[in-house]
Symmetry: C2
Subunit: 313 residues, 2 copies
Amino acid sequence: MEKKPSFALALHGGAGTITRASLTPHMEQEYRAALRQALEVGYKILREEGSALTAVEATVVHLEDCPLFNAGRGSVFNKLGYHEMDAALMCGKTLEAGAITGVRNIRNPILLASEVLHHSDHVLLSHPGAEDFARNQGLAFEPDAYFFTQQRYDQWQALRDTDVYMLDHSETGEKKFGTVGAVAVDLAGDLAAATSTGGMTNKNFNRVGDTPLIGAGTYANNKTCAVSCTGHGEYFIRHVVAYDISCLMEYKGMSLAQACNLVVHQKLKQYGGEGGLVAVSPTGEVTLPFNSEGMYRASWVAGGEPLVGIYQE
Amino acid sequence: MEKKPSFALALHGGAGTITRASLTPHMEQEYRAALRQALEVGYKILREEGSALTAVEATVVHLEDCPLFNAGRGSVFNKLGYHEMDAALMCGKTLEAGAITGVRNIRNPILLASEVLHHSDHVLLSHPGAEDFARNQGLAFEPDAYFFTQQRYDQWQALRDTDVYMLDHSETGEKKFGTVGAVAVDLAGDLAAATSTGGMTNKNFNRVGDTPLIGAGTYANNKTCAVSCTGHGEYFIRHVVAYDISCLMEYKGMSLAQACNLVVHQKLKQYGGEGGLVAVSPTGEVTLPFNSEGMYRASWVAGGEPLVGIYQE
């Protein structure tokens, strides 16, 4: 009989048309190194008996700080030429959650979601109001220049006079869903999920995706699973993806892998909903399914080896 | 054997501490008349073979236009002294959804949610972006004065210099969760749900409640049910209430009434989540459970009598 793992962590850095042909060996190496570093941040916390909540938060901070990913530093440009970010954090033990949408200039949106979780009566704050709350809580702000990357700027320049929006960069028609996220189960058996995104290049009308919506892009419940999604957010909202997985486990008795595979490879796919997710169960089962060509991802189960992946293997 | 009803409609105008002692006979009469009128608007559409989507939209427009309810005209004042509204609409046949949060000066927020559903690739738009979209779509705007009611203004004046927020009016500590919503099943067997709210008096930080979040305050799926919620939104978000009911029916085989009662009277109550909801099933079952002292509500099943209620009966 398999030994029950004591803790586990999984993370993603976005999904989409990520093929070997689309990444140079150098870029691939950079992505793999960044995913591995983020994994080590969270794993170290879990190994030292830190909480899952702390671990996913720190992991996502690391991914936000890395300009390779579309979250925090390195976020895409919206229609109006600025960075508009969303994030959510959920605790599987208490079912408490914090989320923010449409914030500008917040260095680490996931830390603002954490402040909402820990220090407000609310779950979801938005736009200038969320920024006012961030100021009250003493969070770090950065100028627009901090978030700038030449690559994302060029992507926006190619689209800004059109009505086209892109879930992440693309000059060649491919789709990328830039989001970062992490899920964990800790030594106490508690689960947590965190997700953060810069949204879609050239996005308009202050669109909100699935990332900050509890049950859609982010969900955690000690009874079932912790889930963080990345993909074409509208499909993840309509199908309440993260909570659907939890319900399939709780009400139908499915395993984590069964529930995730059903939702990602059948339910979402049937409607054309492209993307993927990372998920953990209370017993340390980890799964990282995606129905797109690739997903930046990594996982580490206690006592095992760290795994990093990009393409379909 | 009971004949299968051919269509049905249920609506609510908010829940909370609504007791016989708190309403004058005159006020009670006004509320009952307004609920009955809204019910007739939707019922007439369904009877004339209109769609559930059209019926719930028109019902909610009627409730938004009535200053008695905290949605559209008659919305509460936020911390900054203006009206900030949310709405959502979902089609159970296609699982398409449209929602908006934090909009100002839109005469009928539910019509903007409908525009998002029918004429955008997105599900949720927010704040000025949602208003830009409304202008593009030619929706009616109204000056602040249109939304003004003396009663809501006085409630805000009593709170504006405090950090207190109220889910609806209260000078005496009672809680009211002002939201309006409707659910329906039509002659074609299609379901739909619509919800609209002005949020909480003196609310700060551009807080978003459950109303515009698909799966939390609003959900519809031809396979299971249509649900519109009213209550302390944060609890409805954390417990993904509307989609939970759908999952309990689809995955656990519960009836609509069983699922709604479990969620409202056990799951929500256990966490202190006060409020209620209205729901219909594809076979025309209707339920209107609430765990607060009262809920403005009404329902009409084809061939039956219209029912209007306020208090616990």
